[in-house]
């Protein structure tokens, strides 16, 4: 929407011809700025949330910003700002024997994945960078690009630990994309459309009287599909219990061991942006997107934004909750769960959704 609106605005105010490629390029670049800001703000908020949530779960308080001297702000609110500043000012270390070109390019490729996926995530009836008619398909597809960046990072670091982490991560991400896609297929079967706004508008109104007409409540099979999607999503983002690639107690820091300063910040930013995307897609596909949970109530534009952000926030909180509760799965157990448990379950699910819809829906 933003892209379309910007293009129309440009055409009405200047004498540019409609559909000119140069105009498209300029509009796209301008539209990229809010995405970047969104990623930065998301990282700021998510990191602060992680610090505080982990602290309270572990019976501590986290950064509090008390005492004289350099301050982390009241309740530690300036902690992430201080972290960002520190990362910007850090020395840029590239190991001597590292493959320089790949080492430098890898963080950018990893950063690109959530960046372009965020373009298709609808925050609101209007706040959507590009209303693609293949929205969901597009987001799932670009999710695979990150794997290349991870392998490049692991290989170019010239470090056995990074290599281990990168190999594990590549295997994990590629494997878990399949249950993710299959659980979305059941959603697509119900809604009949790949467009994000289309899926959301399918979930309008109520079902069974009082429940909102979310796909989560549509069907017992789509209920299961949500959990398959969420678990596979957590594995996609490399979060505990699937954080073998960055297993701190085993591989120091996995594929980003050798990165420091701003390069490492890119990995960090992308991890939290990936969490945002998985939660966003889960919210859109299963939890009704920007619809209010009480149908017909508080449905205005501003409230829709609030509902979407709260749903995404709850899912991100649950991801963090997982991280600080569960131990880590071993690599082969992880792959076991994907191929022997989630994949057959997702396939059966598709069957189930289809048969249910045929017989009852």
């Amino acid at each position: 929407m933003v892209v379309d609106n910007l293009m129309q605005w440009f055409e009405s105010w200047t004498l540019w011809e409609a559909g000119s490629p140069l105009l498209f390029l300029i509009v796209v670049v301008i539209a990229g700025v809010p995405i970047f800001l969104l990623m930065a703000v998301n990282a700021l908020v998510a990191v602060y949330a992680e610090l505080k949530i982990s602290a309270f779960m572990q019976d501590r308080v986290g950064p509090m910003g008390q005492g004289p001297g350099l301050h982390a702000g009241k309740w530690g609110l300036l902690q992430t700002v201080a972290d960002a500043l520190k990362l910007l000012l850090k020395e840029d270390i590239i190991p001597t024997l590292a493959d320089r070109k790949l080492f430098i390019i890898a963080p950018f490729i990893i950063f690109v994945t959530p960046f372009i996926a965020l373009a298709a995530l609808p925050f609101n009836q209007d706040l959507l960078i590009a209303d693609l008619n293949i929205g969901v398909f597009y987001i799932l597809a670009v999710g695979s690009i990150g794997v290349i960046g991870i392998i490049m990072a692991g290989w170019s670091s010239n470090n056995k630990w990074s290599l281990y982490g990168a190999m594990r991560s590549a295997a994990q991400i590629i494997s878990y994309e399949i249950p993710v896609a299959l659980s979305i297929v059941s959603v697509i079967m119900l809604t009949g459309t790949l467009s994000m706004q289309g899926i959301i508008s399918y979930q309008n109104g109520t079902t069974l009287g009082i429940l909102p007409n979310w796909i989560l409540f549509n069907n017992p099979f789509s209920f299961i599909a949500f959990f398959i999607f969420f678990i596979s999503g957590v594995a996609e983002v490399n979060r505990t219990p699937f954080d073998i690639p960055e297993a701190e107690s085993e591989l120091v820091a996995g594929f980003h061991t050798e990165y420091s300063g701003m390069r490492w910040a890119f990995f960090f930013l992308s991890e939290y942006a990936n969490m945002l995307i998985i939660s966003g897609v889960a919210a859109v596909a299963f939890l009704g997107g920007w619809h209010s949970p009480i149908p017909g109530f508080m449905e205005s534009s501003g409230w829709s934004l609030f509902w979407f952000i709260s749903k995404v926030g709850v899912l991100i909180f649950i991801m963090m909750w997982f991280r600080w509760t569960f131990p880590r799965l071993r690599v082969d157990q992880l792959m076991n769960i994907c191929w022997k448990v989630l994949l057959p379950l997702a396939l059966l699910n598709i069957f189930g959704v289809g048969i249910w819809t045929l017989l009852i829906g």
Partner: protein, 373 residues
């Protein structure tokens, strides 16, 4: 190491590593993720403890014993002091004995809390570590109240103790025990019975009882393999015969007998037993008497040698002391239980994946200070 074949990789774990429990270097030969050979390299923490002992008087050795196994200093003190007292034929008063048992058992709880917490952290569960350390802090507060130190106490002296129990210690200890007992169940539910933890540790790193005995592994590692051997019951020292407690033995509840889960379980059960012992000791504690009345002015053991072992949280802690009548020992040797546990690592960890090696190392509960001395 010899020739490295084409598809094998030599991986170095440590000496600086988040989960080697100290400065330990493991040279691991891997084929993909499976480990084919492990060689531990120790000595990074060697501080010439036994050489020092040849130049110190008997009572000056006691702070040095603290620093060997720095996590269970009370038990180290206990072992050394009991050995020298037997050499000198000193019988300490009952009050001193009871206080020693209380301190040793409290330290056993603290040591197991640390072992379990760091084991959980190695497997990826960060929260139980903090919960267990929070509980450990209460024990360290009790120790600080008594002798002023949180970790290295120099508390048990030859013939007595350095300080008497302060006013309010007994009440505070009861308070702690009442607070702590339900916490064990809380930590169990969080970690021990968690399906993911069971997947990571059950059937992993099985130490068969024959292998354990042949390597000389003792303590919770041996008991996890099903062998019932505890020095507090089998070679009675001090006044442990006055207490009623069980020896928990691994039974392969979640997998095979002697896997990592069993060793974890044995340590948890031992904490419960220690709580029972401390309660009994507090009830029977005599209040009259001076803890330093039998401390000799000059410690000159008669000529001879003695080897005595006590049950530290890691196993059989043995002291071999040779004396020739002077106030300075000729030789003090510490038999470290963690050393034998680490030597058994290659027997149990080969053929597993790297993540399992980390888990197995965590379950053996080694302390490099004791291994290297």
């Amino acid at each position: 190491m010899g020739i490295v074949h084409g598809d094998e990789m030599v991986l170095n774990i440590g000496p600086q590593h988040p989960s080697t429990h100290g400065v330990l270097r493991l040279k691991v030969l891997t084929d993909g993720e499976i480990v084919s050979k492990i060689t531990p390299y120790i000595g990074y923490l060697h501080r010439c403890f036994e050489k020092h002992c040849e130049n110190l008087t008997y009572e000056q050795v006691i702070p040095f014993t603290d620093r060997c196994d720095y996590i269970s200093s009370m038990n180290n003190n206990f072992g050394y002091v009991v050995t020298v007292e037997e050499l000198m034929d000193i019988h300490v008063s009952k009050k001193v004995e009871y206080i020693r048992v209380i301190m040793a058992e409290l330290n056993r709880i603290a040591s197991h809390l640390l072992a379990l917490g760091t084991f959980g952290m190695d497997v990826g569960a960060f929260t139980p570590f903090l919960y267990m350390f929070r509980d450990r802090e209460s024990i360290l507060d009790l120790f600080e109240m008594t002798c002023g130190a949180r970790l290295l106490y120099n508390y048990m002296w030859i013939g007595g103790l350095s300080h008497d129990l302060p006013v309010g210690f007994v009440e505070k200890t009861y308070e702690f025990l009442d607070y702590f007992e339900p916490k064990i169940k809380e930590n169990d539910d969080l970690l021990m019975y968690n399906k993911i933890f069971i997947e990571r540790t059950a059937d992993v790193g099985v130490l068969p009882p024959e292998v354990a005995v042949s390597y000389g592994v003792t303590g919770p590692n041996l008991r996890g393999s099903g062998v019932q051997w505890d020095l507090r019951k089998d070679e009675q020292y001090s006044i442990y015969d006055r207490f009623d407690f069980e020896i928990p033995v691994g039974t392969g509840q979640m997998g095979t007998v002697g896997d990592c889960w069993d060793r974890y379980w044995v340590r948890t059960q031992e904490m419960k037993e220690s709580i029972g012992i401390v309660r009994q000791a507090l009830k029977q504690l005599p209040t009259e008497g001076d803890v330093q009345e039998l401390v000799p002015k000059k410690i000159r053991p008669p000529k001879g040698s003695i080897y005595k072992r006590t049950e530290s949280p890691r196993g059989d802690l043995g002291f071999y002391i040779i004396s020739d009548g002077k106030p300075i020992p000729v030789r003090v040797k510490l038999r470290s239980p963690a050393f034998t546990a680490l030597s058994a690592l290659s027997a149990i960890a080969e053929g597993w994946m790297i993540s399992d090696v980390i888990a197995i190392l965590g379950s053996l509960d080694i302390v490099l200070g004791e291994i290297d001395r």
